[in-house]
């Protein structure tokens, strides 16, 4: 039996660990400062809830939600690579547009979870356990996929183009296609984390995506610091998940301490400052790796 507090932290941390992995894929592998996650974090669950309310089977609805995230990511890539809109702006356009899209799909800004969109229908405590094991399985699968994808020819090319986009000409591959698929994948992961997120908040609200990309970034940077010397993909990816858990534990700790909730953004801000300071100590070349900054 896990301690209940730890269980709650792990649940929230694993959900945002997935989110951070989506951010990691776009920010680190593709070196693309993608702001779409704010949008795919709401569109994924909204599409999922809509489909399950229409009576589609659970698995189909989940897949539809993930696919919606994929589409959002690819739209950002198309805006950036084909219409030549700067990367940050394209992400902003898509994430703010998804606010309206979500509204149109739901026809209202907030929808509570009906029983056919809930994964587990039992009492609360066992719910937390079931969700934890489900999250653990999903996270392990995603870590495995990262490892496989990162070593595959597609993954290697994606990372190579991310490092130097002129490489695509030498490799005789379409840079556009790789970015469309890459950002699509990154936002699919974010959409999945959104679907898992609403299993804990019991409602989907179109305001819930605001500012979440920053949360993902904090977890990602934490993970990168912890794994500074490791070149193994699965180690880095697992440590990013751990980073998200640590971040969420810190926030719960500030709440437990009785600090006013108003101070929580300050805690996050200090955390980022301290993290960047550590990052310099650990590896001087590291900051150069974060070229989008």
């Amino acid at each position: 039996m896990l301690d209940f507090t730890l269980l709650l932290i792990l649940n929230e941390g694993l959900v945002f660990g997935l989110f951070a992995l989506g951010v990691y894929l776009s920010f680190q592998w593709m070196k693309f400062p993608d702001l779409t996650p704010d949008g795919s974090f709401i569109i994924g669950p909204i599409v999922f809830v809509k489909f399950s309310m229409l009576g589609f089977p659970m698995f189909f609805s989940i897949f539809a939600g993930i696919f919606a995230g994929f589409i959002l990511g690819s739209i950002t890539a198309i805006l950036n690579k084909i219409l030549k809109i700067p990367s940050i702006i394209s992400g902003l356009i898509v994430s703010s547009a998804s606010f309206s899209i979500g509204w149109i799909i739901l026809n209202k800004p907030n929808q509570y979870l009906e029983s056919n969109s809930e994964f587990f229908n039992s009492s609360m405590l066992s719910n937390s356990y079931s969700l934890f094991f489900l999250l653990l399985v999903i996270v392990l699968i995603v870590i495995f996929l990262f490892q496989v994808f990162g070593k595959s020819i597609w993954g290697l090319r994606l990372r190579a183009i991310g490092e130097n986009q002129f490489l695509s000409k030498d490799l005789l591959i379409s840079e556009k296609l790789y970015f469309i698929v890459g950002l699509g994948l990154s936002n699919s992961i974010v959409a999945l984390s959104g679907i898992l997120f609403i299993q804990r908040s019991y409602s989907v609200d179109i305001n819930m995506g605001i500012g979440q990309t920053i949360t993902g970034l904090i977890a990602m940077i934490l993970g990168l610091i912890l794994s500074s010397k490791s070149l193994k993909i699965w180690v880095t990816v697992s440590l990013i998940i751990l980073g998200a858990i640590i971040h969420k534990a810190l926030i719960l700790f500030t709440l437990e301490l009785g600090l006013p909730a108003e101070s929580f953004r300050l805690v996050s801000a200090f955390l980022i400052i301290i993290l960047f300071f550590f990052m310099k100590k650990v590896d001087d070349n590291f900051l150069k790796g974060l070229r989008w900054s």
Partner: protein, 322 residues
């Protein structure tokens, strides 16, 4: 590896320092979704009644207040924290908070301060009784009185401009009721909608209404709330009557407000909660609405718009400010 191990250790230490629950106290957790004036007033009114009640004499009431600052993840973690040390009563200010609390801690009495539409939010089974461990007051403004006020003061107003954030379920509920009321009573008023998504959009919205409308109406919208002085300034510049739903707007250029007193609403919510604590069944208590909304009129602005106020003087619930 050492680093990771030490971090895990810190995690375990963090999680193991739970404060132990005290006996003989009545814990009330107050969770606000965002910090705006109506919510502050609701909290004040609620505490005021609770602290002076008979119940407070027999129990030590301990409040713990949380603010989710519109962050869905922080909201989840606040509810996590509360579910570890469960309070006796949860006062939720914000629909998403109430939805999560109700699902995760159905055994705890949930009191919501002004739910706009608890039935369509899935919180209550019906307006006459929630059927759940849930009680609430509603801030749904009386649309009929609102329209009547507009027709009394400015009978020539046929095009009504509305600024609201379609991302807020409360505003949407008001607007859809307004539309329904106008069409079902075949009232000769056309709505000109200007949706906004941030407070900064209000400037564009209000300027685009100039010349297209005979009056402006602002529903109780949390996003537009901060820009009321701007709406007041522009509408006075172009002599457009401006109707609002918060009383403070009267000093910011509104012609008239039909407002709910959120301090009173907070008190009413507390009284409702005390009824349950004194033995009533929360499942059968109806959702309570504000009985007497207050109408306030700015005489100065009425004067510049050539509106005759002599008939309205000395009417109950009417307040004319100079």
């Amino acid at each position: 590896m050492k680093k990771i191990l030490s971090l895990i250790l810190i995690l375990i230490i963090i999680t193991s320092c739970n404060s132990s629950k005290k006996k003989d106290t009545f814990d009330i957790a107050i969770i606000s979704i965002v910090e705006i004036d109506p919510i502050v007033q609701l909290r004040k009114g609620f505490k005021n009644v609770f602290d002076s009640s008979e119940f407070a004499k027999n129990n030590i009431i301990k409040y713990s207040e949380y603010n989710a600052q519109n962050d869905a993840s922080l909201q989840n973690q606040i509810i996590d924290k509360i579910s570890i040390n469960k309070p006796n009563l949860i006062y939720a200010l914000g629909t998403p908070i109430a939805q999560a609390v109700q699902k995760r801690m159905p055994e705890i009495l949930l009191v919501q301060g002004t739910a706009t539409d608890p039935v369509s939010a899935g919180l209550a089974d019906s307006w006459d009784g929630s059927g759940k461990n849930y009680i609430a007051t509603t801030d749904l403004p009386p649309i009929d009185k609102q329209i009547k006020l507009i027709q009394t003061l400015t009978p020539t107003a046929k095009r009504l401009g509305i600024i609201y954030n379609p991302g807020e379920i409360n505003s949407v509920a008001v607007i859809s009721r307004l539309k329904k009321f106008i069409s079902s009573n075949s009232i000769d008023i056309k709505l000109v909608e200007r949706p906004i998504s941030t407070t900064a959009d209000v400037a564009t919205a209000i300027y685009s209404l100039v010349g297209k409308v005979d009056a402006v109406y602002l529903p109780p919208d949390n996003t537009a709330h901060a820009a009321i002085p701007l709406i007041g300034k522009v509408s006075n510049e172009y002599n457009i009557p401006f109707y609002a739903t918060v009383e403070s707007a009267i000093n910011d250029g509104a012609l008239a407000t039909l407002s709910l007193d959120f301090y009173e609403m907070g008190k009413e919510t507390a009284r409702l909660a005390l009824e349950v604590l004194n033995g009533k069944d929360p499942k059968t208590l109806p959702i309570r609405a504000s009985k007497n909304p207050m109408i306030t009129i700015n005489a100065k602005i009425a004067n510049t718009l050539n509106i005759d106020l002599s008939l309205l003087k000395n009417k109950p619930n009417y307040k004319i400010e100079n």
